[in-house]
Structures are given as structure tokens and as C-alpha cells.
């Protein structure tokens, strides 16, 4: 059996072109676009589920579109999910702010410190 997961993502021949001044931008953009693609895949899957539910008479798309949280608890659960999700996605921004507020030593420096402890 071939390693189909690794082979699927193989590089093609020739040096890869980079278009941004900093290759890191290119790298992050490529990862972001892959995630954007997977979000689209998930959205299509949700769409399939909704349509199947409607065809089977379980839930209509209209019911889904018109749904609003009915209790305080449901409201809180939803908003908590959004809050956690955004915090996860923007993790690096938060960490850069923390670093800015509290300039830190490098781990190599800490290693030197610990070596003396």
C-alpha cells in the first residue's frame, strides 16, 4: 500500500515560485486557503444534511433559517462557542500582544538561567 496521504501532497519538479516579499506570507496564505477550502467542504456537507432532513420531513430549511436561541442558556452556549473559536483562530495575535506588554527572555536565555539554578 502506497502512502497516499503523503504522496497526495507531493511537490512537483522545479523550484517553487514565491510572490510575496516575505516567503512566510506565502506559507501562511497557502495554509489559510487550504483551511478555507475545508470550510467550503464542511458547508456543502451541512447543506446536504439540511436538504436530506427536509426531504425526509424531519426539519425544513426554513425552520433552520428562522431558528433563534430560545433560552438564555442556548444564547450563552452559542456566544461562548464563537468567543472560543475566534480566540483559537487569532491565537498568535493575542500572544504577540502579551509579548509586547511583557517582553520576555528567549528560551535559550532561560536555559542559561536554569543552568545556573
Amino acid at each position: 500500500m502506497i502512502d497516499y496521504i503523503k504522496l497526495a501532497s507531493s511537490k512537483s519538479k522545479g523550484k517553487r515560485p514565491y510572490f510575496h516579499n516575505d516567503p512566510a506570507v506565502e506559507r501562511v496564505l497557502n495554509i489559510t486557503m487550504a483551511v478555507a477550502g475545508e470550510l467550503a467542504v464542511m458547508r456543502e456537507r451541512m447543506d446536504t444534511i439540511e436538504r436530506l432532513l427536509e426531504k425526509k420531513g424531519l426539519v425544513s430549511q426554513e425552520e433552520i433559517d428562522n431558528y433563534i436561541p430560545e433560552t438564555k442558556e442556548e444564547e450563552t452556549q452559542r456566544q461562548t462557542w464563537h468567543s472560543e473559536y475566534i480566540s483559537r483562530v487569532l491565537r498568535i495575535v493575542q500572544q504577540e500582544m502579551e509579548e509586547l506588554e511583557n517582553p520576555d527572555k528567549t528560551i535559550a536565555e532561560i536555559a542559561n538561567d536554569i543552568n545556573k539554578m
Binding site: S9, K13, R16, V25, L29, N30, V41
Partner: protein
């Protein structure tokens, strides 16, 4: 209200026994990529605006003169933020298309191999030659970023390069080649039938046939002809033959052979065709292949080649530059060299007479075209199904 110019969903692709199995999310991934391709064709229009409004004026201001060459233009535009984001998104999209296709076909490599073997078994219309060498120009690059190109076999009897190509070209072209991805072959078959009403070719050769998508409409249009399709990639030929058999087309023999040195007799074909082939060859081979075509074409025989448009003197530097983008960044490097060759000179130096040279335009025949894919869409230079056809009748 319906949105304009939506690409067809992937499941509109024509089904046949060799088409890889796909699950829900794999089809969804292809749908995303078709739409992304289409979207980026619009984003591409911003390159011209950025060039005219920012890149060129800045260059003139700094240098006191106009941009003088495609290279100078490339250097200047490479610093423009719109060009940068469009380029990186387009490159990324093409890499994702390969990844998506390969992740579908590699997981079922053995099943696809078995399906092909079953359909191909005992048939004299598939002739593989283990001594056929893959030409250097194909070993040097993975055309259109397809890792391993057309020839690499990950397992014995592999057909995955072709299965990836077949399922993915529908995404790359956003379905503009029709359900069988055969819009090029259909267009040329129709043109030949309409233009040469008495033409009844007995033997037809298709060179660089790949997975056979463009030769089948020709074989169907001339069912009494003996059609031979050659390629150097064994995986492509195995798949092409199995696909043709499943689609009920039996007058094509698929043979593993280098077009520059075929084993065919002098003057043995009535029609020799290639479709989007020459721009994936090489600077010396293109002449060898054309000489070979001249050798094996009968007097009075027809040869036609569907290709990307040539560069003309009235084409702006910007247009030349943007047409070269795909050649260099979607890894079809010989395309960036081939447009400097005059097809008439190519044919005349290979033995054809100057007065016999012909050049026409062709547009894909698309069985999915319901009028919702408008002609006023921006032309996407890398994927547009609008081509140049050159050729000759040998006299």
C-alpha cells in the same frame, strides 16, 4: 436571482467505468476549487489596472523611459501588491487542485489498476512498449504541477496520473470543455467534417493522446477509420484504452510510442492530429516531431494542431507577460519558448509547402453550455478553451 456564470457542479462530469470513485467531501472540494478558479479569473483583471495605474507610471518616473521588455515588466510588477496576492492565490489554487485529485486517486490506486486491467485484458488495441523511453523534455518538468507527470508509476500497472487528470481537468477548466472534457476534439472533428465534406480518412493518428479525451470524438466522427493514438506515458494509455472501451469506442488503438521516432511507414496516414501537445514538448523535439509527421502523412493528407495562441507583434508587453505567467508558474515551461516559433516556419522547415500552411481559431464545443456561461467572462489566459489551430494539407 441567480448568480452569474457559475461553474457546473463536479458531478456533471460524464461517468464511465474508469472515473475514480469520489465521496461527498471530495466532490465538494472540487466544487470549491472550480469556483475559486473562476473567481481568480476576475481577480486577474486587476493586474492590468495595477500595471497601468501604478507599475508603469512608477517605472517611467524612476527611469525616465517606458518599460522596454517583458523581463523588465516582470521585475517591475513583481513588487505590486495586487499582482503578488493574485499570483500566490492562483499558484496555491493549482497546487490544491493537484492535491485534491491525487488524494482521490491514490487512495484507490489498486482498485483503479484492477478496473483498467479487466477492461484491457486480451485486447489487441492497447500496445505498450516497455522499451519506449520517456522523452527528456517530459522528465525535466512535471507539467501543470502534476507530481510525477504522465509516466510515473507508483504501483505496477498504475493508472492514477490519468485518473487524476480526467477528474481534475473539469475543475481546472471549470467545466468549459464539456462533460467528457473533450471540447477540443469535438471542435476539430466538427470543423474537419464541415470544411472537407468529402474527406473520408482511412487512417488517423493522434499524437500525445494522454488519457484519450480528444481522440474519441474524432474516432466517433469517423467510425470507419482506423484510429491510432500514441503517447509515451503507459499509465495514460492504460486508462485511455479502458475508458474508450467502456464508452463503446473500439476503432482506436492506443500505442506507447515517441512521436519523434514512430515505427509507422512513410505516407501511411490520411490525418495526423495533436491537441494541446506541442507546448509540452521541447525546442529540438518539436522540429523532429513535425518532420516525422511530414514523413508519415500521405500526399493529400491533413495535419492539424490545436495550440495556445502565438505571440504577435501587435500584442502588448503586458499581454505577453500575463500569457507567460502560466507557462512559468503553472509549470508548462516550453510554452514560454514555443510562442517565439513561427508555426509556418516550423512546418515549412519540416517539408510542408508554404502555400499549404493554414491557421484557424477554435473554441471548445461544450455540451454543458446552457447559455449561463457567458462569453463576456474575462479571458483566463491559462485555461481559456479558445485556441489557435495550425496545420497543412500535404501536397
Amino acid at each position: 436571482m441567480a448568480a452569474k456564470n457559475l461553474p457546473p457542479v463536479w458531478n456533471k462530469i460524464a461517468k464511465h467505468a474508469m472515473l475514480p470513485e469520489t465521496n461527498h467531501d471530495e466532490r465538494a472540494r472540487y466544487n470549491f476549487l472550480s469556483n475559486l478558479n473562476k473567481h481568480l479569473a476576475h481577480v486577474s483583471q486587476g493586474n492590468k489596472v495595477a500595471f497601468e495605474k501604478r507599475v508603469e507610471p512608477t517605472f517611467v518616473k524612476n527611469n525616465g523611459r517606458a518599460i522596454a521588455s517583458v523581463d523588465e515588466l516582470g521585475e517591475a510588477i513583481s513588487k505590486d501588491s495586487h499582482y503578488q496576492i493574485w499570483s500566490s492565490l492562483r499558484r496555491s489554487t493549482m497546487e490544491m487542485r493537484q492535491q485534491a485529485g491525487r488524494s482521490i486517486v491514490l487512495r484507490q490506486a489498486e482498485e483503479l489498476r484492477d478496473k483498467a486491467e479487466k477492461l484491457n485484458k486480451g485486447k489487441s488495441t492497447l500496445v505498450l512498449d516497455p522499451n519506449c523511453k520517456v522523452p527528456e523534455y517530459l522528465l525535466a518538468v512535471d507539467n501543470h504541477l502534476m507530481p510525477g507527470s504522465y509516466h510515473t508509476e507508483l504501483i505496477e500497472g498504475d493508472v492514477t496520473p490519468a485518473a487524476n487528470y480526467d477528474s481534475g481537468i473539469f475543475v481546472t477548466t471549470a467545466g468549459l470543455l464539456g462533460r467528457f472534457n473533450d471540447g477540443g476534439g469535438k471542435a476539430i472533428a466538427s470543423w474537419v467534417k464541415k470544411t472537407y465534406t468529402d474527406f473520408a480518412p482511412k487512417r488517423i493518428l493522434d499524437i500525445g493522446c494522454g488519457m484519450g479525451h480528444n481522440v474519441l470524438p474524432i474516432a466517433k466522427a469517423f467510425p470507419d477509420a482506423e484510429v491510432i493514438a500514441i503517447d509515451t506515458g503507459a499509465p495514460m494509455l492504460r486508462y485511455a484504452h479502458a475508458r474508450a472501451i467502456d464508452l463503446g469506442i473500439t476503432n482506436v488503438t492506443f500505442m506507447q510510442m515517441d512521436a519523434a521516432m514512430t515505427t509507422f511507414e512513410n505516407e501511411s496516414f490520411d490525418w495526423i492530429q495533436s491537441t494541446m501537445f506541442f507546448h509540452e514538448t521541447g525546442g529540438k523535439s518539436i522540429y523532429k516531431i513535425m518532420k516525422e509527421i511530414h514523413r508519415i502523412l500521405k500526399p493529400g493528407g491533413l495535419t492539424l494542431h490545436i495550440e495556445q495562441p502565438q505571440y504577435t507583434n501587435d500584442m502588448s508587453l503586458f499581454e505577453k507577460f500575463i500569457r507567460d505567467w502560466d507557462a512559468l508558474n503553472n509549470s508548462e515551461p516550453y510554452w514560454s519558448k514555443m510562442h517565439d516559433i513561427d508555426p509556418k516556419e516550423l512546418m515549412v522547415s519540416s517539408g510542408f509547402k508554404e502555400e499549404d500552411f493554414m491557421q484557424i481559431g477554435a473554441k471548445a464545443e461544450n455540451d454543458l453550455d446552457d447559455g449561463s456561461q457567458k462569453a463576456d467572462e474575462p479571458e483566463d489566459h491559462g485555461r481559456s478553451p479558445i485556441w489557435n489551430v495550425f496545420g497543412a494539407i500535404k501536397n
